[in-house]
Symmetry: C2
């Protein structure tokens, strides 16, 4: 069964080189990197090398600014809660946006039950937050601004550099959830003026269960996982060395092949955007085509349910998703799409199409031909559709 994976936002297949590195790590019986005997030293060296590779991917000045975590969600929780707790005496106000991933939204909500106040900004119709609104929202009580780099459902990229210039000037900590961007588009924590940057390994073809948090030197932040002195005292717990080695190999490959990959992904995006109107009508493109990831397009198909489309495409061995995999099981319409101004009905007809380096134009053709049949069938049964 050969499945065409156009659900790369939920899972990206491990690169052969990543698999190889992880299998080698598994077979090497790597001892605890904190142990001070020979066996531990070898692991400590591998850990240090991995940290260098990952630091390079986000252009961190010092590898010690990278904290290895169990993934994007831990990184975000650590950044948002750890920074809020550590700076509580300076103030209790946090600025964020309505379209963040649930890991930010729910972390911030948790903090409100501990006395923090939150301003959550709307995006405009093109899906972007206005840096001026961020500036206006900052008060003398503000200790943290958290804005995502790219949205995980629409792929739309936010004006992070401009926001970073504002937070830098106002001396407020800036966290950027860059989980779906790091390793996909070039990332420079210094150009962006961020103090904290969350990322995960799978979006650049590394293993799930491995991620990182960039913490600019001097940033006041508490650990989320209190315990041992690992990760320069920022995160307790024995390191997931096999996962970290896989992530580091993926980071190396992402840095080396960034331009080539992007060109290929952009080509598929353009091809999909050009071909769509030849196969479908009555749809809305929710992605800001000018400012967005090269590997994702979010469309809403009017008069039908995205869920049904997904299941029928699955029958034809085409995998897509309707929303963030993290929101599976929730019947509510996407908060991101509602924030963009979509009606509930239109939001329910949404597909997230996300491709990867292994996809081709032929896969897009297959998708479009399957999709056009599925949409025709579903609309013929839809009481909402009249044509």
């Amino acid at each position: 069964m050969n499945i065409i994976n156009l659900d790369h936002i939920s899972y990206k297949p491990l690169l052969p080189e990543v698999k190889e590195a992880m299998i080698e790590a598994i077979n090497s019986d790597l001892h605890n990197p904190s142990s001070q005997h020979k066996a531990g030293e070898k692991s400590a060296e591998l850990l240090a090398q991995a940290r260098e590779n990952v630091a390079a991917l986000v252009n961190a000045a010092d590898a010690r600014e990278i904290v290895f975590t169990s993934g994007g969600t831990e990184s975000v929780n650590h950044a948002v809660k750890g920074a809020a707790w550590a700076n509580r005496e300076k103030g209790n106000h946090i600025v964020t946006t309505n379209i963040e991933h649930n890991s930010v939204i729910r972390s911030v909500k948790r903090l409100t039950s501990q006395g923090f106040k939150v301003t959550s900004l709307s995006v405009n119709e093109s899906g972007r937050v206005d840096p001026k609104e961020v500036a206006d929202a900052i008060t003398d009580k503000t200790i943290l601004v958290s804005v995502m780099h790219s949205n995980n459902e629409t792929g739309t990229i936010q004006p992070i550099e401009e926001i970073g210039a504002i937070t830098r000037e106002k001396k407020v900590l800036f966290h950027c959830d860059a989980v779906d961007s790091v390793g996909v588009v070039p990332m420079d924590v210094n150009a962006l003026n961020v103090d904290l940057l969350s990322f995960a390994s799978n979006p650049f073809y590394g293993p799930t269960g491995a991620g990182g948090l960039y913490v600019r030197r001097g940033t006041r932040i508490f650990p989320l996982l209190d315990g041992g002195v690992q990760e320069h005292n920022k995160r307790g717990g024995t390191e997931n060395l096999i996962g970290i080695i896989g992530m580091a190999k993926a980071a190396q490959m992402a840095a080396a092949n960034m331009d080539e990959r992007r060109a290929h992904l952009e080509d598929l995006k353009q091809y999909l955007a050009d071909e769509l109107p030849k196969h479908l009508d009555d749809y809305i493109i929710n992605t800001n085509l000018e400012h967005s990831l090269p590997n994702l397009l979010n469309i809403s198909l009017k008069y039908i349910e995205g869920e049904s489309v997904m299941l029928m495409l699955d029958e034809e061995n085409v995998a897509v998703s309707t929303k963030s995999a993290c929101a599976t099981g929730s019947l509510r319409a996407s908060h991101v799409l509602l924030s963009l101004g979509l009606s509930h009905a239109d939001a329910q007809g949404t597909l997230v199409l996300a491709w990867g380096v292994d996809n081709t134009r032929a896969d897009i053709d297959k998708l479009l031909s399957a999709l056009s049949g599925v949409v025709k069938t579903l609309r013929s049964m839809s009481p909402l559709y009249k044509k």
Copy 2:
């Protein structure tokens, strides 16, 4: 270079069957278990199966009572902080002991900065807490008792079942940090009367970076990692499926071979205890030989530094440790040993000897012969030693 690993408390080598299961998972390109198409469903089934295997190891009535985490430290932080936050309106008092792992000690300390109060109980000379003292410490403000199952430095096992009977009667939540016990000795969350039980995969020969938290059905607890609806809404973040599959295989093997392994480990413990006096004098055994893990012995060698012993044994290809790997880099004497009443000087001469299923009596012989030479050399240079 063939290293004799008597530092199993820092790292246990993956079992061949665990390696095989992880490598198969790596090569299977397992999609996100939250995705609702065919590729995701297969992963969801593997995740559910893994949960059953892990639940069986602690005799959980329902596999949904297991939350997969990134390891013991996350489990402990989740249990302690999550239970404290969720039950804040009932009270703000926590009871624990002086010999807990730093993940408990520092989690509880973090909570004191948020308005929680802590009573930390001492242990008696045999290294155990008195259940009656736990009962006496509980007030009408107490919301959580946290006592470890076995100590990670001494291996001494606490009277958890008796404490559990008390917390059950007094209707206070009971968390047990069982990281070094689960998979090593039989574990039954119902017999122990615990509401929360933390464990990790490596102590039973699974991968680091994978652990679990048992949460009794109905226990009020907040997530530590807020985000998606994974893990029955108790822990956001895409699952570390490769690590979880490795842990589940290790859990299966631990359950199947528990008796045989224990007999072998107990034999080595008895052999070591019997042989020690033939090779060494002037030492203290810090482990409660009656109530302790079968795979660990903690001894303090008078007049010398454990650190030097460890490094000299390393030269002879014998790996041991002087303390918890999580405390590497700290120059302070172990808080566990000081709590037992050891002097600072004696505590500095400590070795943690921990063996595994792959060790033999010949390894113990090798250790003792190397150790006796090393101790002789170091004492001959020690200004404290006069004989």
